[in-house]
């Protein structure tokens, strides 16, 4: 299994999955990221990231039921695992720590 290091794009995808909470699938994640970050994202890149996140155990997936949208095609629904949540929290904590460590004089 690959290392648990989380790349920048992977982190964003993981966050997007978390935002969608339970209704995250490829296209939805793409739209979410595009809206939030205002930059075009390739579907392939997102699916790759999702795949990697799943291999690392940060998300899990299951096939959704058939709906009439999307020409009756099924969705693969992703959700953040407990491990994934902890990873996100750790990242946030590290960032906060680092923000706090910036001396005020740095900005002047």
């Amino acid at each position: 299994m690959k290392g648990t290091y989380l790349g920048e794009f992977e982190e964003i995808v993981l966050l997007a999955v978390a935002i969608q909470s339970g209704d995250a699938y490829g296209a939805a994640v793409v739209s979410e990221i595009e809206q939030q970050m205002n930059r075009p994202v390739n579907l392939g890149a997102v699916h790759s990231a999702l795949n990697r996140l799943q291999e690392k155990g940060l998300v899990k997936s299951e096939m959704g039921g058939v709906t009439s949208e999307r020409g009756g095609r099924r969705k693969r629904l992703y959700s953040v695992t407990a491990y994934g949540r902890r990873a996100l929290e750790e990242i946030r904590q590290v960032r906060n720590q680092m923000w706090d460590a910036i001396p005020r004089t740095a900005w002047s």
Binding site: Y25, G26, L43, G44, A45, H47, S48, R73, R74, K75
Partner: protein, 899 residues
């Protein structure tokens, strides 16, 4: 109502997705794509949405999407690629090993065959690799060129690789592209140099060495040599320095360092002065068309004096190989065109005076050995043609061994069919079976490789003897070679195992287990085809062997126009000819002794440019000349056509009298009747020398029979210095003549070793490359026939075994042993006969092509094919009948009781 038009993504992109995407992934991905597309149509418009769609499809081309079976979603309980699982691969080899051990005869035949095939293949690959590596190791290999010339006169044009001494410097001065220029001189006066080692406290030791070349001090700036001792940059700066090859250094001094030691260099190269060893280079791996044993600067010896005394010329004295190193990236074509201007500036005027035209052009040094086909090059070159011949022989030998494997495996398929059936019933897939069979052939190939590697290193000395190469075992350990051999093994395993693997793996288990399986006729047909192929190759090789042998015999027995047997040749190198001659004639077995500068069989380097007095200088013709003592032509038994030979009875005979051959008369259009007394002129350094013809001898072959007879003239020398002495011995038993000669020699010429050779052997050396090809073809013919027969042996054994019951019944019903043997061998004989029919025309064509390279050659006669065919048939019959007789003699009770 307004009709709703649903916008559609580009259809081809969707199709592309369907093509590469794994089926179980398709649903979600296409859904995502579609959803995004519909969204984007609204937000950014149809056009851009479609573009984004295509981009997304391409961005999805990722291995994990393309990979069809994934462990998570595979339908079966087993991963679909289970047959490549390490455990399975281990299992294939385990099963293969058990099969090998169980069928010892079958395994032995295959391993022997494959080992032999691979050994041949590896040896020939080593040979081919060494041939291809000529002159590739130089640091500037891509920028090195030989300056070649083409002289054009009224009589035609002649390509000649040597130039006058002046070109090298002038080319370097004229063109900035020429980084360095260097000359090489091959001693034309004597081809052996006497080297003497005189170390304090040890007896002096002398050796004659060939291949000592004199070169400019820039030589090692152009050609790269790995120096073991000394410095390449300065090695040739001092005139009295000498650079030795590793082998020669070993020969002269053993395993001690030799730098700064002195050796005496004799002959016209060093005039017997002391030379300091300034370098030793690694010779073995540095394969080059300059096959040197040692190098001496051009600034000493005869050649230095000659260059000093000669007026600088661009037309005559074409004695020097001139090499240039161009600036990297120079366009050779363009440069070649520029050379015309050079000729105009420097050479045109003197060319006009000499009456011919000339152009110079560059030949890449790395092409010299195989592709340039230049005559008169430093070391005799080879031809890429031979590599093709050897390469195909290598391929064929291996192919024959692979065919044996295929044949035996398919023949035994009936036996293994049950096994295949059971495996299939137990759930083995086709891939698994293919894997197993390939595993078996791979294992065999690997075992063979190991044995073959051993065999190669053991047989390398013999192979070197056969090919005249000096390949070292160390070359086997070269990474490229190892990779090549591993690939060879892999391919052998695949080639040998592919057919049985795919053939056996498609058996239907139901048929097999019910016993409905019989050897299908298609496999029988294929097997026969393969046997025929093997024998076509074998018969072709036999024909080649016979034709080559006939041609070689023809060359050996061809009347040459002189007596070449029982002629002993002794190199003199300026030693006192008359004294030695007198001593020699004291032995009653020595019938005659004569001196000469050349004798037939070695390259004759000097020629005169002669013309009839009534002709102009422009009509000169080159005539090879040889300076001889009065007795030479009597000793050699040249046959006289007109006039007389030189004789001491005619005191008027001087250096200006010549005896010519008939070809010379033809060249100058002199009728035989008027030949005697006819004069020929030769302009040399401003004076005209006149030569008078006193005799005409019948045309004789002074060069090998690849070449037709050229004009040749002998001129007389009453002096005491010749390069060679030829003695006619009246007996074939040399056992007391040679010790006598050596003894006399030692008392007369104490400081030079006694060396000799036989003229017929020297003459034969001209066919060395032909003899070599002949020997290689001979050897590999035997090998490939042996491998073919090995296969036949296996097939015959199998056929006999399969028909044990039939034979038993026949015998019980009264069939004789002969009947049974005939029954079993009939099929094989038919195949061999068919092979003869196919092989004959192919072999005839190929051999006819080979014979075209000889000026004098045999015709291929029909009986060659008959003999080859019968020979092969005989060997095949012998092989098969061994098994057949064994089967026929078996007690029928034994074979029939089992049921």
């Amino acid at each position: 109502m307004k009709k709703l038009i649903t916008p559609l993504p580009p259809r081809w992109a969707t199709r592309l997705l369907h093509w590469f995407c794994a089926p179980h992934r398709l649903d979600e991905l296409e859904g995502d794509l579609d959803e995004l597309f519909q969204e984007r149509v609204k937000s950014v418009g149809l056009h851009r949405a479609r573009r984004r769609y295509v981009r997304d499809v391409f961005s999805l081309m990722r291995p994990w999407i393309i990979d069809r079976p994934s462990t998570e979603y595979a339908t079966s309980d087993y991963p679909t690629l289970y047959f490549l699982h390490p455990a399975m691969i281990r299992n294939y080899f385990t099963v293969a090993w058990r099969n090998l051990v169980r069928n010892k005869a079958f395994s032995a035949i295959n391993i022997i065959g494959l080992t032999t095939g691979m050994t041949c293949c590896m040896l020939l690959l080593l040979y081919i690799r060494s041939e291809l590596s000529f002159d590739r190791h130089h640091e500037f290999a891509d920028d090195l060129y030989l300056v070649n010339s083409e002289a054009i006169n009224a009589g035609g044009h002649e390509v000649y690789p040597k130039l006058s001494a002046s070109y090298a410097q002038a080319l370097k001065a004229e063109y900035p592209e020429v980084m360095e220029a260097t000359r090489l001189w091959v001693n034309i006066i004597e081809d052996r140099t006497l080297l003497t080692v005189d170390e304090r406290g040890k007896p002096a030791n002398s050796f004659y060495e060939t291949k000592g070349y004199q070169v400019d001090s820039t030589f090692f700036d152009v050609f790269s040599y790995t120096f073991l001792e000394g410095d390449a940059k300065t090695a040739l700066n001092d005139p009295h320095s000498v650079v030795l090859s590793e082998e020669l250094a070993h020969k002269l001094f053993g395993n001690t360092p030799v730098l700064n030691k002195t050796i005496r260099v004799g002959g016209t190269t060093g005039f017997g002065e002391n030379f300091k060893i300034t370098g030793v280079y690694k010779g073995e791996q540095a394969r080059s068309h300059i096959d040197a044993r040692f190098f001496v600067p051009m600034s000493v010896g005869w050649v230095a004096a000659f260059i000093r005394e000669q007026p600088a010329t661009y037309t005559g004295n074409n004695l020097y190989y001139t090499y240039v190193r161009l600036k990297p990236g120079t366009d050779t074509e363009k440069f070649n065109r520029k050379l015309a201007a050079f000729m105009n500036k420097y050479v045109r005027q003197s060319l006009k005076k000499a009456g011919f035209d000339k152009r110079i052009f560059l030949v890449p040094v790395k092409n010299i050995h195989l592709y340039s086909q230049l005559a008169n090059i430093v070391t005799a070159t080879s031809s890429a043609k031979y590599l093709y011949i050897l390469g195909s022989i290598a391929l064929f030998t291996l192919l024959i061994a692979c065919i044996n494997f295929m044949n035996l495996s398919t023949a035994r398929s009936a036996k293994r069919a049950t096994e295949v059936g059971v495996r299939k019933v137990l759930g083995a897939g086709k891939q698994g079976l293919v894997g197993q069979f390939l595993g078996e052939s791979m294992l065999l190939a690997i075992i063979s490789l190991l044995i073959a590697s051993l065999a190669v290193s053991l047989s390398l000395p013999a192979f070197n003897q056969l090919t005249g190469k000096s390949l070292a075992t160390s070359e086997l350990i070269n990474p490229l070679t190892i990779i090549a051999f591993l690939i060879l093994t892999l391919l052998t395993g695949l080639a040998a195992g592919s057919y049985p693997a795919f053939y056996l793996s498609v058996f239907k288990p139901v048929d097999v287990i019910k016993g409905r399986f019989t050897n299908q006729s298609s496999s029988l047909g294929l097997r026969r085809g393969l046997v025929v192929f093997q024998f076509v190759v074998a018969i072709g090789l036999v024909v080649a062997t016979i034709v080559i042998r006939q041609q070689m015999n023809f060359l050996r027995d061809q009347p040459l126009g002189f007596v070449k047997d029982q002629q002993l040749v002794v190199p003199l190198h300026g030693s006192n000819y008359s004294a030695i001659k007198q001593e020699m004639l004291k032995n009653s077995r020595i019938a005659g002794v004569a001196g000469a500068d050349y004798y037939p069989g070695i390259t004759n380097q000097t020629n005169f440019s002669l013309y009839r007095p009534d002709q102009s200088v422009n009509e000169i013709q080159d005539v090879k000349t040889n300076r001889v003592s009065p007795e030479f032509m009597q000793v050699m038994r040249f046959s006289l056509v007109a006039g007389r030979l030189f004789s001491r009875d005619f005191p008027g005979d001087t250096a200006s009298r010549i005896v010519v051959n008939e070809a010379t008369l033809r060249k100058f259009a002199i009728p035989l009747k008027k030949a005697i007394g006819q004069k020929l002129n030769f302009d040399w350094q401003g004076t005209t020398n006149v030569y008078e013809i006193v005799g005409v001898v019948k045309d004789f072959h002074f060069a090998d029979l690849h070449q037709s007879i050229q004009p040749y003239a002998f001129h007389l020398s009453l002096g005491n210095q010749f390069n060679y002495m030829v003695a006619h011995i009246q007996t074939t038993d040399m056992s007391d003549v040679l010790p006598f000669l050596e003894n006399r020699w030692k008392t007369l010429v104490a400081n030079e070793p006694f060396e000799y050779s036989f003229l017929n052997e020297d003459f034969q050396k001209n066919y060395q490359s032909d003899t070599r090809t002949s020997r290689i073809v001979n050897t590999f013919t035997i090998v490939s026939i042996l491998i073919s027969c090995l296969g036949l042996l296996g097939l015959a054994a199998f056929a006999a075994q399969q028909r044990t019951k039939e034979i038993g019944v026949r015998k019980v019903l009264g069939a004789s042993v002969t009947n049974v043997v005939a029954l079993l061998t009939k099929d094989f004989i038919k195949l061999v006969l068919l092979s003869i029919a196919i092989a004959s025309p192919i072999a005839w064509y190929a051999m006819n092509q080979w014979l075209q390279s000889f000026a004098y050659k045999i015709d291929i006669e029909w009986w060659v094919f008959a003999v080859s065919g019968l020979l092969t048939l005989g060997i095949a019959l012998l092989t098969v009948s061994f098994q057949s007789i064994k089967a026929a003699l078996m007690n029928p009770v034994k074979s029939l009781r089992s049921e």
